[in-house]
Subunit: 321 residues, 2 copies
Amino acid sequence: MRILVTGAAGMIGRKLTARLLKERAIAGRAITSIDLHDVVPFDAPDAGDIAIATHASDLSVPGSAASLIEGRPDIVFHLAGIVSGQAEAEFDLGYSVNLDGTRSLFEAVRSAGHAPRVVYTSSIAVYGGPFPDVIPDDFHTSPLSSYGAQKVMGEALLQDYTRRGFMDGVGLRLPGITVRPGKPNKAASGFFSNIIREPLSGLPAVLPVPRSVVCTHASPRAAVGFLIHAAAIDGAAVGPHRNLALPGAAVTVGEQIEALARVAGNDVVKLIREEHDDTIWAMVQNWPTRFEARRARALDFKAEESFDEIIRAYIEDDLNQ
Amino acid sequence: MRILVTGAAGMIGRKLTARLLKERAIAGRAITSIDLHDVVPFDAPDAGDIAIATHASDLSVPGSAASLIEGRPDIVFHLAGIVSGQAEAEFDLGYSVNLDGTRSLFEAVRSAGHAPRVVYTSSIAVYGGPFPDVIPDDFHTSPLSSYGAQKVMGEALLQDYTRRGFMDGVGLRLPGITVRPGKPNKAASGFFSNIIREPLSGLPAVLPVPRSVVCTHASPRAAVGFLIHAAAIDGAAVGPHRNLALPGAAVTVGEQIEALARVAGNDVVKLIREEHDDTIWAMVQNWPTRFEARRARALDFKAEESFDEIIRAYIEDDLNQ
Ligand SMILES: NC(=O)c1ccc[n+]([C@@H]2O[C@H](COP(=O)([O-])OP(=O)(O)OC[C@H]3O[C@@H](n4cnc5c(N)ncnc54)[C@H](O)[C@@H]3O)[C@@H](O)[C@H]2O)c1
Ligand SMILES: NC(=O)c1ccc[n+]([C@@H]2O[C@H](COP(=O)([O-])OP(=O)(O)OC[C@H]3O[C@@H](n4cnc5c(N)ncnc54)[C@H](O)[C@@H]3O)[C@@H](O)[C@H]2O)c1
C-alpha cells in the first residue's frame, strides 16, 4: 500500500507519519511506501523497509501536485493548508493554498485515473453562527472566515470528484485539536491549547475569553485515529455525503481548567492568567460548540470522551517524549 | 446608477434587461447605464437615454472580468453560467465558467475597490437529498451534482468577499424557474416547463417522471423580481449569511397539470404524454421539494402563491408577446 501525505511537516502530518511507521499497515494491508510532502523542507524519519521519501514544493504551483501523484498512491492524506488566523490575515495566500492547492491535487488525482482514497482535513470552521445547542449533521455550512470558506470549497470539490468517480474521498471536519504541542501556530484558537500546554511546562499562559466558552476538542492522537480510520472505511457506508462532522469532548474552558487541576494539580492552574482580548472574543462567539456527529459515530470514528483523557494523551505523547 | 449584467443573453438576463428598461430605476434611483455581457454576441435592445452597451467575451478567460468592471457598476447581476445538465456532461467547462468565471468576476470587483452590490444566481441544486418534508434555511448544502458543487463554491466566495468588504453580495438560490419560454435548454428539469409551454402552443410534451414529484417553482417574472429586490435590499438586514433560499409555489407535477387544465382546458392537457425516463427519474429523486424560506420571506422576497398564477404569467409575458 502506497501512501502520500501532504502537509507532512505540520503538526498532524508528523504525528500521522509516526503512527503509520509504528503500525506499518492500514486495515491489515502492509504499507510499502510513504511519500511525505510539504512546502518547507524537512527530514524523513527512519522507516526500515518502508520506502520513504520527502518532497518539498508548493502545492499551489502548477505541476507540483501532478508529480506527487506520479507514484499512484493508494491513499492520499491531504493535510497541507494555511491555518485560520493566517488565511484571515493573508487573503490571497489562503485561497491559493487551501483552494487552488486542493483543487490541483484533486485534478492530479483525476488525471492519474486510479481513483485512490483521499482523506481531507476540513474543519468545524465550515460552520457559521448562530448555532443550535447541538449542531446536527445536516446543519448548514455557512462560514464566517476565509479559512472556513476555503474548507467549504474543498469539501464541495471532494464530494463532486468522488461522485464522478475521479477519487474516493472522505472529508473530516476536525474539531479543535487540543493539546497542540510545540509552539503556538497562527490559529486564533491557540489559547485552548496554550492554557494546558504552557502551565504543564511551568510556563504562564493567557486566557483571553470567558470560562463559559464551549468547544469540542479531540487530541492529536484522536485526530490521527480519525485519519487512519477514514483511510480504510468503506466508501459505500459513507454514502454520497462525503464530509463528516466528528465526535469529540465538548467542554467549557472552565471544565478544561478543572481537568487540568485534576490531572496536574492546583499550582499548575495558577499559571493561567485571565486577560480579555476583544478580537479573539469576537471570533470565538462565531465558533461552533457541540456536535451531534451521529453519522461519524455510526461509522465508528472515535475520540476522547473527557478532557482529562485529552490532557493525559498530551502528557504521554508529547510532554514525556 | 450603473448596472452590469453577465449572462445577459440568457433567458433570465433578457427578461431582467427588459424590466430594467421598463422601470428605468431601482428603488427610486435612476438607471444611467446598462452593460450587457455574454459569451454569445447579441444585440442591445433600444434603451432611450440610458447608455446601453453589449460585451461579448468568455468570463472565464483572464482579463475579461476586469474589463467589465472598469465602468465601476453600482450593481452587478451575475447570471452567466453553464446550466445543470451541461455542467454534468462537460465537467471542465462547468468548473471553468461557474467557478473560475465567478471567481474572476469577484476578483475584478475586489480590485476595483468600490464594493458594489453583487446579485448572484445560485440554485436549489446546492441541496442534496435526503430531505426533510420542508427544508429549513439552515439545512446543509451538500450537493449531488457538479452544477450544485459549483454554485456552493460561488456562494462561499460571495459570502467571504462580502464579509471582507470587497463587495456587497446577495446570493439567491433560485427555485425552478417555470415556465421557461423558448426552446428547451440543457437542464434536466426541462420537463417542468415543457409540459406547460408545449401544450399551450398546441404541441405534444413528454412527462418523464411520476405525477407525485414535487418541486418549488417561480415564474421568470418572479425571478426578475427577486433579482431587483436583491439589488436594493439593505445588506445589514440580510446579515452575514448572504445566500438565501427563496419562496415559490411548491406543487406536484399532478397539480401543475390540474392548474393547466383550469387555465387552458382539458384538451390542452391531453397533449402531455407520460413516458418514464429512468435517468431523469434518478436525478429528480435527489432534488429538493419544499422550502421554508423564512429569511427570504421576512426580507420581503415575493413569488407566486399558486401554479395557476405561474401559468398566467407565462401566457401574459411570453405566449401572447
Ligand atoms: N490543528 C487543528 O486544530 C485543525 C483543525 C481543523 C482542521 N485542521 C486542518 O488539518 C490540516 C493539518 O493541520 P495541522 O494542525 O497539522 O497544521 P500545520 O500548520 O501544522 O500543518 C500544515 C502544513 O501544511 C504545509 N503547507 C502550507 N502551505 C503549503 C503549500 N503551499 N504546499 C505544501 N504544504 C503546505 C505547512 O508547511 C504545514 O507543515 C490543515 O489542513 C488544517 O487546516 C487542523
Ligand atoms: N432557469 C432556472 O431555472 C435557474 C434556476 C436556478 C439558477 N439559475 C441560474 O440563473 C442564471 C441564469 O439562468 P438562465 O435560465 O437565464 O440560464 P441561460 O442558460 O439562459 O443563461 C445563461 C447565460 O450565460 C451565458 N454564458 C455561458 N457561459 C458564459 C461565459 N463563459 N461567459 C459569459 N457568459 C456565459 C450563456 O451564453 C447564457 O446566455 C444561471 O447562472 C443559472 O445557473 C437558473
